[in-house]
Amino acid sequence: MEKILDVQQLTVSFDTYAGEVQAVRGVSFHLNKGETLAIVGESGSGKSVTIQSVMGLLPTPPARLKQGKILFKGVDIAQYSEKQMEKLRGKEISMIFQDPMTSLNPTMKIGRQIMEGIQKHEKLSSKEARARAIEMLSMVGIPNPESNMERYPHQFSGGMRQRVMIAIALACNSQVLLADEPTTALDVTMQAQILQLMNELKQTLGTAIVLITHDMGVVAHMADRIAVMYGGCIVESGTAEEIFYDPKHPYTWGLLQSMPSLTGKSSKRLSVIPGSPPDMLMPPKGCAFAARCGYCMHICQEEAPPSFNIVDQHQAACWLLDPSAPKVERPHLQHIVMDGGVR
């Protein structure tokens, strides 16, 4: 399969009053054409910073891309100037954000907000751009697209606004859509609709999606492959089946255990991962998860674990996978009901 996006050893820090916050520490992942990659992790794990740096949206300073390559179609866009990035953004790579309530300009008509991107990237008359915008609105399921072009964001519900955001993002047929927690701010019925819309558009337009979320349920709906992030590193990555049915990293176990299930025994308490994420101002010397891990060994506190290959593309960074480590039985994980979304 062809890699459309290939991020290698990405390291991003923020220079703050208190010191250097190492938000992302050597993250590598790739995205194949037309697939959905989910990056999962709790708040502060560095997932948002990772994709915002792919988009070149982080304010510099305080953010600083310390090292790493971001290969888009084989070209390192980390080296691009702001001008070059402008040509890429919204045309080749698009992004939607967490809160549709604040992501649209409150004083500009919806139509104009969609047309803006189209007119920037494609040589279209304003009439043609308008036609394209109307087409996009109906594609994302906004009724009466023509009259809704003339309305302002506050006249739409949250779900509708997220649809408009998707219309803006896909107006120029981007090949990559970066979605930063696109459904977190929506209520549950809206979440399902938006996820379904994204799946449909992926199918019809062939857009590859990087989906950032902390919701394993959303991941089950959407992802072809999954990367689990913790403390600025990817701790485990693999196909959706591998991560859900054969996870190797204790953090992934914790994530899956802390997910409520309809089919699981109701008497069972929802398990939690004790403790809180590490302070990235002083990241731990060894494994970032060591302090919260139920299987922590001496070595975990001393050395950061390398990435162990399990099969093919399934990798996990955990000392338990070292041949010298004691064998550990994985705790019982409830069965995730994966619907049609996951193959």
């Binding site: 009053y17 916050v21 004790p274 403790g275 809180s276 101002l281 302090a291 922590c296 001393e302 010298s324």
Partner: protein, 310 residues
């Protein structure tokens, strides 16, 4: 033998750590309180510290300045009028031969006192009234807000002038006039803040846990509005100084032989084409002290701004 010991130590490395040894909630970063953090940032802000130094220096001079010269601020000497800056009269003398050094630092006492007290009293008054209005809401709120609506339609200065004429000139009437007219803006700000805070989750949570009104006010509302209040109070000082100077300048604030910076500018202006220093010295001091308070206030605001916290 060597390899076995290595294997042994390697195995030891792979031993599990006793759970009890693990500290889940170890706090790595030294925790800074909000105020300590703000103070740290304020101290690092050179411009704000420069402003503060000038303020402190001016206050010290206002206290000791008049004693440094043998001349008194109201002692006239018609044989030595309009004297230039010299080693006996450090800032010269005015049209009645009064020593300007003494008058200026005497004036500083009045201007600073009026400025600082005249800023703090209306701010506190506004804080109490606005807090009551926002916290209790309903009819109380409506009545207070209508009063401020109407009060704020008229420039404060019109009322200040009327009140000044009613009570006569002098520092106390000025402060009184400020207190009567200046609380409205502060009350509106505080009311807005309290209304916002009341809807915030931590206040709702506290209320849901059965916290009393007193607890809500003292543990949540006041601490969360205090920084904004301090900043607005600091910013109110230069405008109070300005108003005092303005009133004295148009002749209804402080009148001679009493001295204030505005009054000195007023006297200086009549002779400034011939003796410019009589105007420039007080004018420069008013501008400098207002500048310092503004710079310091800006620094305070930046220091308290939660968005700048890391």
């Amino acid at each position: 033998m060597n390899s076995t010991s290595e294997a042994k130590s390697a195995n030891k490395k792979f031993n599990f750590i006793n759970k009890a040894e693990l500290q889940h909630e170890a706090i790595v970063r030294p925790s800074l309180s909000f105020w300590k953090d703000a103070m740290n940032r304020l101290v690092k802000n050179k411009v704000a510290m420069l402003g503060l130094s000038i303020i402190v220096l001016t206050i010290v001079m206002a206290i000791v300045g008049p004693w440094l010269t043998p001349y008194s601020y109201n002692q006239t000497n018609l044989s030595n009028i309009n004297a230039p800056v010299s080693s006996t009269h450090w800032f010269g003398t005015d049209t009645l031969g009064r020593d300007l050094w003494a008058r200026i630092w005497m004036g500083a006492r009045v201007s600073l006192a009026v400025g600082i007290i005249g800023a703090i009293i209306p701010s506190l008054l506004g804080m109490v009234i606005g807090g009551i209005s926002g916290y209790f809401g309903g009819k109380t709120d409506m009545i207070i807000m209508r009063i401020t609506d109407i009060g704020m339609c008229v420039p404060q200065l019109i009322y200040v002038i009327l009140i000044m004429i009613y009570f006569g000139s002098g520092p106390l009437p000025i402060i009184l006039a400020f207190a009567l007219t200046g609380w409205m803006g502060a009350a509106r700000n505080i009311r807005g803040l309290v209304l916002q805070l009341k809807e915030r989750e931590f206040v709702l949570a506290s209320r849901a846990l059965g916290a009393s009104s007193w607890r809500l006010i003292f543990k949540h509302l006041i601490p969360n509005t205090l920084s904004i209040l301090i900043v607005s109070m600091t910013m109110a000082i230069p405008s109070a100084i300005f108003y005092e100077a303005y009133l004295s300048f148009i002749g209804i604030g402080i009148k001679p032989p009493m001295s204030s910076w505005g009054q000195l500018v007023n006297s200086g202006i009549s002779v400034f084409q011939i003796y410019p220093s009589q105007l420039f010295i007080p004018a420069a001091l008013i501008s400098l002290i207002m500048l310092s308070f503004n710079l310091f206030g800006d620094g305070l605001r930046d220091a308290f701004d939660p968005k700048l916290r890391n």
